[in-house]
């Protein structure tokens, strides 16, 4: 009798064991949400970067955040016609020595002084969804450079990744390593640098990584993957450009499991749980929601006090990410800029910048950012508030930090549109040029943030 393929296929597909499959819906939803969050990060980055790039007269685009596909797994194939080889020495088996975590890093310390080896390479996290306990830790690293190397082919490689408890990166305090990689760090294939790096001129290569960690001996969860909580990931990477290796370090927060819920004063308004950063208690002044940005406080628009005949101001560019917790977090990058009468003067010798406050309001075409002087943007009512403390930092070069923003209407993502971000900055910068100089003061810095692709409606109004 001829074989009925239709019937055979249906019979095979009707296997009760197969059809009894029940999927873990909660887990599927979590995976789908993480994927959406990752997409939101990438899409939001496009909008924000585009505006920032227009500011600098360039075009910046964020690239593919997806990791390179894993290297193919080599499975020895069996040949049906091959005979067993009687000589063991002539039949080499692919042997892999089992990976042993480098526990020697456990108990060693990491600190902010370990930042920055090569100034042509910056390393920053652009936000990744939190990981589930027992899963690999997700992170998205941007290998960036201020050099105009867009289009150049480079190789990037992770050299080290360790976890400490969530650290305060604004201080010089050292943090102790509590977890090390449980598998070799995967070296991705060559990357092509793309225009822009975190809203600034230059080029970058974003790289998504999933790293399995094992807790160090002596910790409560020794031998296991990190339990739910917030950690600081200390990362060292290398980028080889045109045969020249550049090495740098970075450190940023990663979250395993749901971010810890805070006793938020915004609960009555249905605001999302706070915070992503290690939080001290922070009081939200929700009364400011809806008020005009022109009434923020008397300091708005005040000039910084400048001595010595030169200007030195903090420039800002913005980014945002939407966390899986639903909290929309703006990424605020402060960059110490040299605004001197002549570019032959050396840069500042010391700088300390403190973010005191931040609000977000709708922006309209025609608004423009003003550094330190003049009126605030003639924008609408306050729509978002700084939702956590931002620690001061002292740095003469680019440094990025998160500004957690709670939206007054309880939005759980950054709404598409054009927004003005106002950041109240206290700076104390000094240096020696022709004569010693300093720049101190408290002032508001405004920056327009476009969220979503094609969010910015026209050309930059400068």
């Amino acid at each position: 009798m001829d074989y009925d393929l239709h019937r055979g296929m249906r019979d095979l597909g009707s296997d009760p064991e197969v059809r009894a499959t029940r999927f873990p819906i909660e887990q599927l939803l979590r995976r789908a949400h993480r994927r959406r969050a990752a997409r939101a990060t990438a899409l939001g980055a496009v909008g924000a970067t585009t505006v920032a790039a227009l500011t600098f007269g360039g075009i910046a685009l964020i690239g593919d955040l997806h990791p390179d596909p894993a290297p193919p797994v080599v499975v020895p194939t069996q040949s049906a016609t091959s005979e067993p080889d009687p000589t063991p020495t002539s039949a080499p088996e692919p042997t892999e020595s089992p990976f042993e975590p480098d526990l020697s890093a456990c108990g060693t310390t990491r600190g902010p002084t370990m930042y920055d080896y090569d100034t042509d390479l910056t390393m920053a996290d652009v936000g990744a969804p939190s990981s589930e306990p027992g899963e690999d830790v997700h992170t998205v690293v941007t290998f960036g450079t201020s050099q105009q190397w867009a289009g150049d082919r480079v190789s990037v490689a992770p050299l080290e990744a360790v976890l400490t408890n969530a650290a305060d990166l604004s201080t010089s305090a050292e943090s102790t390593v509590i977890a090390v990689p449980a598998a070799p760090l995967r070296a991705p294939s060559a990357q092509v640098l793309i225009d822009g790096t975190m809203g600034a001129p230059g080029a970058s290569a974003p790289l998504a990584m999933d790293i399995p960690f094992v807790m160090c001996p002596g910790t409560p969860d020794a031998g296991s993957s990190p339990p739910a909580g917030s950690y600081t990931l200390w990362f060292e990477g290398r980028m080889v450009h045109d045969g020249t290796p550049l090495t740098n370090r970075g450190a940023w927060l990663v979250t395993v499991g749901a971010p810890p819920e805070q006793p938020s004063v915004g609960e009555d308004l249905g605001l999302p749980p706070q915070l992503d950063i290690p939080a001290e208690q922070y009081r939200l002044d929700l009364d400011r929601c809806g008020s005009s940005t022109a009434q923020l406080d008397a300091i708005a628009g005040a000039n910084p006090v400048i001595t010595g005949g030169t200007h030195y101001v903090a420039e800002t560019s913005t980014w945002y990410r939407a966390l899986p917790s639903g909290q929309a977090t703006l990424w605020f990058r402060t960059e110490a800029g040299w605004w001197a009468d002549t570019d032959s003067w050396p840069g500042p010798e010391s700088s300390e910048i403190t973010v005191l406050d931040a609000v977000v309001a709708p922006a309209t075409p025609g608004d423009h950012a003003i550094w330190g002087t003049g009126p605030m943007l003639s924008s609408g009512p306050v729509a978002g508030l700084l939702a956590g403390p931002v620690t001061p930092f002292a740095w003469n070069g680019p440094l990025s930090m998160d500004l957690p923003i709670t939206w007054c209407d309880g939005s759980t993502t950054v709404p598409d549109g054009v927004w003005a971000l106002y950041v109240k900055v206290q700076q104390n910068v000094s240096g020696t040029g022709v004569a010693p100089w300093s720049s101190t003061g408290i002032f508001w810095v405004a920056q327009v943030l476009a969220v979503g692709p094609d969010a910015y409606p026209g050309t930059w109004p400068y």
Partner: protein, 181 residues
């Protein structure tokens, strides 16, 4: 959120059918379950509007095919360990036929196998099969022809159906004589 509800409904109500479809492609249940879940996550990993369970299922099935044909670690993993699996000593007759068909399907390339599943399990016309696989109809015909020939060498002559329009071409290479009558 509407998308989440559609995902939950689809996984709950159509999970068995989707798994059966994937199972015919992969040949083993764990890989099929992985494949369905990956497809669900991929489809629902972006916000879409106007999704109903019916339209979503079509997306998921297409994604299952794409993920399968693109070649995957699960398939490599399965091929790496399947020779270690032990078959039942004396399977019942219907189980035996299933195993025969499973073994025969395992001889097919991913493209050939996908063609057979879409054609003979999903009952899609060749033009639709080609559309699902993003291939030309002629290419799909070739896959189908090769697949049928390989299956015949394992299963014996295949029953002809009125709607079958695939001409069986000589196998390449002919490892066993065709027994088509």
């Amino acid at each position: 959120m509407q998308g989440d509800q559609v995902l939950a409904d689809l996984a709950q109500e159509r999970g068995g059918d989707l798994t059966a479809f994937a199972y015919l492609l992969t040949g083993d249940l764990p890989s099929a379950q992985d494949l369905v879940q990956d497809a669900l996550v991929k489809v629902f990993g972006r916000l879409r509007t106007g999704f109903t369970p019916e339209t979503a299922e079509a997306y998921v099935r297409r994604t299952i095919v794409t993920l399968h044909v693109d070649g995957f670690r699960r398939r490599r993993r399965w091929r790496g360990v399947r020779h270690l699996l032990v078959s039942p000593d004396q399977p019942p007759v219907d189980v035996e036929r299933r195993l025969d068909l499973r073994a025969a399907l395992d001889t097919l390339s991913p493209q050939e196998r996908t063609t057979v599943v879409l054609r003979y399990y999903e009952d899609l016309p060749l033009a639709e099969v080609a559309d699902r696989m993003n291939l030309a109809v002629g290419t799909v015909k070739r896959y189908a022809s090769n697949a049928l020939h390989k299956l015949e060498t394992r299963l014996g002559p295949l029953a002809a159906h009125d709607d079958d329009s695939v001409a069986v071409l000589p196998a390449r290479p002919a490892s066993a004589p065709a027994r088509r009558s």
